[in-house]
């Protein structure tokens, strides 16, 4: 994973949860485009951060994750999307469910919440394969320790530290039942990650009694890009 801080003169601003399309052009004219969620909170300084996961067989991500260096330019288009977005005015409580790099748009939401001084209660359930693969781990710890009402529950599906007492399996209905706000609280729910995780989580949440219209999903992850 690599976070790219971009200065984008003329950037019109974005909402937490939106993404950009990045286009690369080789000197023979060959082009490739992919979408990346904006990981930074909206701000007035015409900057944004993309966090890119390097896919071994990827075409764009290896370039962004390994080759790109400070001073390089990128062509990007956006912000794109307007449905999978949150800001403090939308209220809560908020349930965020993430798998792997699906944390990125949700991180923009948490960073916005922090910057705005919001105390909307949030629970984040975040699935990663191992402790090393928990993106933004330190920052999430810091946000929790501010006492603003963020709870983070990790599940580590492949490798856990010896002293680990947390979940050690993929997100499933039982886990969601334990972690999610009760339906009576009418939480706003955002689920982001690989399709199987999103499908499992969204179905489970509907079965637990959450209104489908309050569950927003964004699916991504390796599909050969």
């Amino acid at each position: 994973m690599r976070s790219l801080d971009l200065a984008v003169p003329g950037w019109p601003g974005h909402r937490a949860g939106q993404h950009v399309d990045v286009r690369l052009t080789a000197d023979d004219g060959y082009q490739a485009q992919r979408s990346y969620s904006i990981a930074s909170a909206p701000s007035a300084d015409e900057r944004l951060t993309l966090t890119v996961e390097r896919l071994d067989d990827g075409e764009v991500s290896p370039y962004l994750a390994a080759e790109l260096r400070a001073g390089d330019k990128l062509e990007l288009r956006g912000p794109i999307g307007g449905y999978f977005v949150w800001d403090p005015a939308a209220g809560g409580p908020l349930l965020l469910v993430a798998g792997g790099s699906g944390i990125c748009p949700l991180m923009a939401m948490l960073r916005l919440r922090q910057a705005a001084g919001s105390v909307v209660p949030v629970r984040l359930l975040y699935s990663s394969r191992s402790p090393e693969e928990v993106i933004y781990r330190d920052e999430l710890d810091r946000l929790v320790s501010t006492g603003s009402g963020l709870e983070v529950v990790l599940t580590l599906t492949r490798e856990q530290p010896e002293t680990w007492t947390g979940f050690r399996r993929r997100i499933d209905p039982e886990m969601l039942n334990a972690v999610a706000w009760p339906p009576a609280d009418q939480p706003l729910i955002f689920v982001c990650g690989p399709t199987p995780l999103v499908e499992t989580a969204a179905n489970a949440l509907v079965n637990l009694g959450h209104e489908p219209a309050r569950i927003k999903t964004e699916r991504f992850g390796p599909t050969g890009g």
């Binding site: 052009t25 060959y30 330019k73 288009r77 794109i80 449905y83 949440l205």
Partner: protein, 201 residues
């Protein structure tokens, strides 16, 4: 001088670009699933398909009615606005021409509406003349709910967000009006060959 990304080369062993890929698209061999919300579920006993709106007479079909109509098997390339394309996908379904037989309308536009609240708008002309189907099987199997089953609209010549999953009907309209993604900035028409992804393209 056109913008060039320093040191970008693309894939190490680049195949010649497939001419069946519209601009900005890349080839996938799996079948990605994208959606805005949970997968709706409607039992076949409750399922109906309607043609309504600016028509002389509304028409309705139950699942049984739909399955009795003449169907076709077709193979087409499909192109998603998120840049992936999948070639030679095989579907089975009822042509929208069949469903529109006998429907009297002066309307030029259609809003497809679906379980879960999804909508998408199209010109009527893009749904007729052998360009669109209500598809209930993919690759020889009943269409999975993740991919829009029991039935989805299939309009392969436009970006695939126009091929509305979980479709339950077509509402004929006199004027074009943005559906779900169109309201969020996606193109009103969506021709992949003109790369009409977002409004203004």
């Amino acid at each position: 001088m056109a913008f060039v990304s320093r040191a970008f080369r693309g894939r190490p062993h680049k195949e010649p670009r497939d001419t069946r890929l519209p601009p900005g698209q890349y080839l996938v061999r799996d079948f990605p699933v994208l959606s805005a919300g949970p997968t709706p579920r409607t039992s076949l006993g409750e399922w109906t398909f309607s043609i309504e709106g600016e028509v002389d007479e509304e028409k309705h079909w139950s699942w049984e009615d739909l399955r009795k109509l003449p169907s076709e098997t077709l193979t087409r390339d499909i192109h998603c606005v998120t840049k992936w394309s999948k070639l030679d996908t095989t579907w089975e379904g009822v042509s929208v021409d069949t469903l529109l037989e006998g429907v009297e309308t002066a309307a030029d536009y259609v809003m497809a509406f679906c379980d879960g609240g999804y909508t998408t708008n199209l010109p009527l002309e893009d749904l007729t003349g052998g360009k669109a189907w209500i598809a209930y099987a993919y690759d020889g199997q009943p269409l999975e709910s993740e991919h829009g089953g029991p039935a989805r609209l299939l309009v392969p010549h436009l970006y695939f967000w126009k091929s509305a999953k979980w479709v339950r009907g077509l509402r004929l309209m006199n004027e074009d009006s943005p559906g779900f993604w169109e309201t969020y900035g996606y193109h009103m028409y969506g021709d992949p060959w003109l790369e009409q992804r977002y409004s203004g393209d």
